[in-house]
């Protein structure tokens, strides 16, 4: 299977197989008119299988989302058909308006304009908790 290379845009590579769709969703790519290619279960020497997302054109990328879903992913910015920049991805300490608190008793479910904030509480376990009610975020 081949997908045309892009001239100007973003390639998110080395996404752990199966996490591409989650990343696609949390990045808000479903709401963009920019052409996007989503490849799943692509053979990888490093990972065995991987997912890849190619975004053809400008898109405001929230790197915290990528760090949350898969800090092992790589992000390459393509300009004029060549890699112009490689972004560093790290597990973010704070997530704002990326995921929602599942606790129905959380103040964020009723308070006007209160952002959904999650804080990294255990880096080893990649555990996030709601900054308001401290409920643990569901795993990816």
């Amino acid at each position: 299977m081949t997908v045309d290379s892009i001239q100007n845009g973003i390639v998110i590579d080395h996404i752990a197989a199966g996490r591409g769709m989650k990343l696609y969703e949390l990045l808000g790519l479903h709401g963009t008119e920019t052409p996007v290619a989503m490849m799943m279960n692509v053979s990888s020497r490093k990972l065995g299988k991987k997912d890849i997302i190619k975004i053809d054109g400008d898109f405001s990328l929230n790197l915290d989302v990528i760090g949350y879903v898969d800090p092992g992913a790589t992000v390459n910015i393509i300009r004029n058909g060549v890699r112009a920049e490689k972004k560093q991805i790290d597990v973010p300490e704070r997530l704002e308006n990326v995921i929602r608190c599942k606790n129905p008793r959380c103040i964020s479910t009723t308070e006007q304009e209160l952002p959904q904030v999650f804080l990294l509480t255990d880096r080893k376990e990649k555990e996030y908790r709601c900054a308001w009610c401290e409920t643990r975020a569901a795993g990816i």
Binding site: N103, R105, C106, I107, S108, T109, T110, E111, Q112, L114, C130, A131, W132, C133, E134, T135, R136
Partner: protein, 304 residues
Amino acid sequence: MRSILDIPDLSLEELDALMDRAEDIIARPDDYAEACRRKKLATLFFEPSTRTRLSFEAAMYELGGRVITVAGADASSAAKGESVADTVKTVSCYADIIAMRHPKEGAARVAAMNATVPVINAGDGGHSHPTQTLADLLTIRREKGRFSGLTVGLCGDLKFGRTVHSLISALSRYEGVRFVLISPEELKVPSYVKNESLKKKRIPYTQETDLESVIGDLDILYMTRVQRERFFNEEDYLRLKDSYILTPEKLKRARKDLCVMHPLPRVNEISVAVDQDPRACYFKQVLNGKFMREALILMLLGLG
């Protein structure tokens, strides 16, 4: 300006200082009778609570201060859809300090971020209720004179009981405390509480299902109510609510100097006959709560 939302907001030194202050208020109440003169406490209670609101109000009156209050969401602007943020910004214009109870978890943090006066969390849903824990700590210290070397039994709803989680967290900061966690399988202490407060600190604990078989080992027995409002399912509540009831019969197996505690209100988990036993400390806890709230108000207002 500082707010108190949860017990970890207070250092061990501050906890000890608050208990020392409370002891001083008990010993010399007249010295504090004018301590909060011309200061106003606003009590904002957005869910039913009799004892905590009265405790805060009694505490402020005993310090010579005044109280303005909103009791119940029905009577407040919250019923009209006003946010917590706007409510506390408004109340900050009238009061020097706010004590707030709210059914939503995390509401106190939102209040503290928006208020321009100190906020005391008087309970935010099932999340935190730090002044209850302050009452518990003072009761244990006054009854036992120490924390180290104590075997503390916690019994009943250990899953949803916020007072239990907070007390475990607070006591785990003192050296030499051992825990016996007594509950039905369905209401065990959540693993994140065990991990953070007990396992990481290598604090000894056991989990039991039978109160009678371990009651003789305990220095403190902290009973809790199986709370109807914490259940999503009425059937689960009815099935579990009577699991653990303390009776004079069960107390026969306990040590002579056991201290029986309960955050109150009780439903039927402690038989009324136990009230006559000198080991029953739960009404002393109520009184101690008032003194600790006095100490906390003084600390946050920078007085005394």
